[in-house]
């Protein structure tokens, strides 16, 4: 096969756009898994739930999916707070989270997925907006708005959360709880409350990521599972709790996946993410920009 430079270039650009979107999916995992040490493998299920909420609001009221997801974010925040409270009372407080917490989230993953299947069936759903079909051409590069809008929204989401963590009191408290829980407790702050806020935020971000997902591709309930590997691969590769590391890892994975799909066929793409994850875990579990071993 002749390696076409144009083809490679457009594959890389498509990968960057895709990777930017992956950052929106992963930012919540970076918070829950990376900072709070809560192995929320049900995160992709909440993303798919977000897709369906955006789909309903779009189909019923003609709302833009991104706008719809921002409107729905408080509901996702409340859902996240509820899930964390259950998790805290049932597992974390008893120091029982390692095995049973994992099983709990695994169960949640299936309940969400199957509930969506029972309500909506396994048909693919998609949204209608004015800009979905439009493509911006920059020389040989195509920038479809279908990808560009999620890319930019995702950067805004990650940037916003980063600012929140770095600048506000609650944000700094979240960073503190991820670093030293006991020290925070000695400062008379309640770690459970801080973690509840952080976890609720991570679920709210999943709702928004879901709306971006349904802009990019049609969604059916069980595709969430395909993303479990990607989001955890990116989170680990990016060094767990670090947002800049996560962003670099997301872009990297997007590019590798897109190039693989272009030159070897899309059926190989899922293995790329998981392969990266296995390699990272085996060779460099602290991630590419990580500090901790």
């Amino acid at each position: 096969m002749v390696l076409s430079l144009d083809l490679l270039l457009s594959a890389v650009v498509a990968g960057i756009l895709l990777g930017g979107f992956y950052a929106a999916m992963t930012v919540g995992v970076s918070m829950s898994f990376g900072m709070l040490d809560i192995v929320n493998i049900a995160h992709p299920a909440f993303i798919i739930l977000g897709s369906y909420i955006a789909y309903i609001l779009n189909a019923r009221f003609g709302l833009d999916p991104v706008l719809a997801s921002i409107l729905a974010a408080p509901a996702f925040y409340a859902l996240g707070a509820l899930v964390y409270q259950t998790y805290y009372v049932a597992f974390e407080r008893r120091g029982d989270e390692a095995l049973r917490g994992l099983a709990f989230f695994f169960g949640l993953l299936f309940i969400t997925e199957v509930a969506l299947i029972l309500i909506f069936g396994v048909d693919y759903r998609f949204v209608e907006t004015r800009y979905v079909g439009i493509t911006v051409h920059l020389g040989p590069i195509d920038l479809p708005l279908r990808m560009l809008v999620p890319f930019l929204s995702s950067l805004a989401l990650v940037g916003g959360l980063q600012l929140f963590l770095a600048r506000t009191f609650i944000g700094r408290a979240i960073m503190a709880v991820s670093q030293d829980r006991l020290a925070l407790q000695l400062m008379a702050a309640n770690p459970a409350r801080i973690k509840r806020i952080a976890f609720a935020l991570s679920i709210a971000s999943a709702g928004i990521a879901g709306a971006l997902l349904i802009l990019i591709q049609p969604v059916e309930p069980s595709i969430g599972r395909d993303f479990i590997g990607r989001v955890f691969a990116i989170c680990v590769l990016g060094g767990m709790g670090s947002f800049p590391g996560m962003l670099v890892a997301a872009l990297l994975l997007g590019i590798v996946e897109s190039v693989t799909a272009t030159f070897y066929g899309p059926s190989w793409a899922p293995a790329v993410a998981f392969g990266c994850l296995l390699l990272t875990l085996a060779l460099r579990p602290s991630g590419i920009l990580g500090r901790r071993a």
Partner: protein, 318 residues
């Protein structure tokens, strides 16, 4: 009861169960019994690692499918008797389990769990792209109609049931022997406090590798007869998430710390699922089945963390 005597009793129980099942004329019940026993083996295998050492394996489907696809490959190459295929499936999955454990078990437990999820997807992609075993189209396996067992001609489905029953007895007896051996106490020390165990001189990595290998091998053995049962194997049925969900839910619901928990869980949940299929109970579809198992899993894990065994112990006060 000593281990030797338990093996004898278990084998006797197995023979009686098999003799009773042979009286059943309805093919459907034979097939249901096979499925329930298959889950019993998977649940017991999962519990060797998950229940005894506390490491959660989400990749049951991968180990199971490796055994099943081992059979598909051998079916194309040479004719081997089923017991040999079962051993082969165990060998393949055991080696993969060992390699997998070696790569990830030095990290925290959560990483191991995520890596097992990853393993399932990587293997499924490889198999889907591997034309020799049918790729995404799947492969047909022709099972003989009858076979001679102990001097009698019996239907092949009954022979499969016999193999699966023997496997179940081996799995349970092995789990029980391990639970009461030095090895089992080592596993339990890892589950209760790995750091303390390591500090007291327990070779934790080696024990975890043993557990992963044994558990993976049993799952592969359970998968080996599957192509003959289903006669058409494609990646989505071999790697079905049903196996991952059920093999976790059954021990958790039954009770994880003893060998009897997975048996209770598998017999209960497995029978309910088969019953739901026959009677279309609640309009049961595979989706509803999964929903029920998922809901039971969450309920038990939050409200009754020791499972049915724990509830029984509390009721009887022992």
């Amino acid at each position: 009861m000593s281990n030797g005597r338990f093996w004898l009793v278990a084998s006797a129980v197995g023979l009686v169960v098999f003799a009773l099942l042979m009286q059943i004329d309805n093919e459907f019940y034979i097939r249901s019994a096979f499925v329930v026993l298959q889950f019993l083996v998977l649940a017991t295998a999962w519990n060797l690692l998950g229940g005894y050492t506390g490491y959660v394996n989400f990749g049951t489907a991968a180990f199971f499918a490796l055994g099943a696809y081992g059979t598909v490959v051998m079916d194309k190459l040479v004719h081997l008797p089923l017991p040999a295929l079962v051993l082969l499936g165990g060998l393949i999955s055991g080696v993969v389990g060992l390699a997998m454990g070696y790569l990830t078990l030095r990290l925290r437990g959560a990483f191991f769990s995520i890596a097992t999820l990853a393993l399932a997807v990587v293997l499924q992609t490889l198999i889907t792209n591997w034309d020799y075993v049918g790729g995404s189209r799947g492969a047909y396996i022709i099972a003989p109609a009858r076979i001679e067992l102990l001097g009698r001609q019996i239907q092949y489905t009954r022979y499969l049931l016999f193999i699966m029953l023997s496997l179940a007895i081996v799995a349970v007896a092995a789990a029980r022997s391990i639970e009461r051996s030095r090895l089992g106490y080592g596993f339990a020390s890892i589950r209760d406090d790995e750091q303390a165990a390591e500090a007291s001189g327990v070779p934790t990595l080696r024990l975890k590798l043993i557990a992963t290998t044994l558990s993976g091998a049993l799952m592969g053995m359970a998968g080996a007869p599957y192509p003959y049962y289903i006669t058409y194997l494609d990646p989505s049925s071999g790697f079905n998430l049903n196996y991952a969900v059920n093999s976790i839910a059954m021990p958790l619901i039954g009770g994880m710390t003893s060998w009897i928990g997975p048996i209770i869980g598998a017999l209960l949940i497995g029978s309910i699922q088969q019953f739901a299929v026959v009677t279309s109970f609640l309009g049961a579809s595979p989706a509803v089945n999964l929903l029920v198992v998922g809901a039971l899993l969450v309920l038990f894990v939050t409200l009754a963390p020791k499972g049915i065994v724990g509830l029984l112990v509390r009721v009887t006060g022992r």
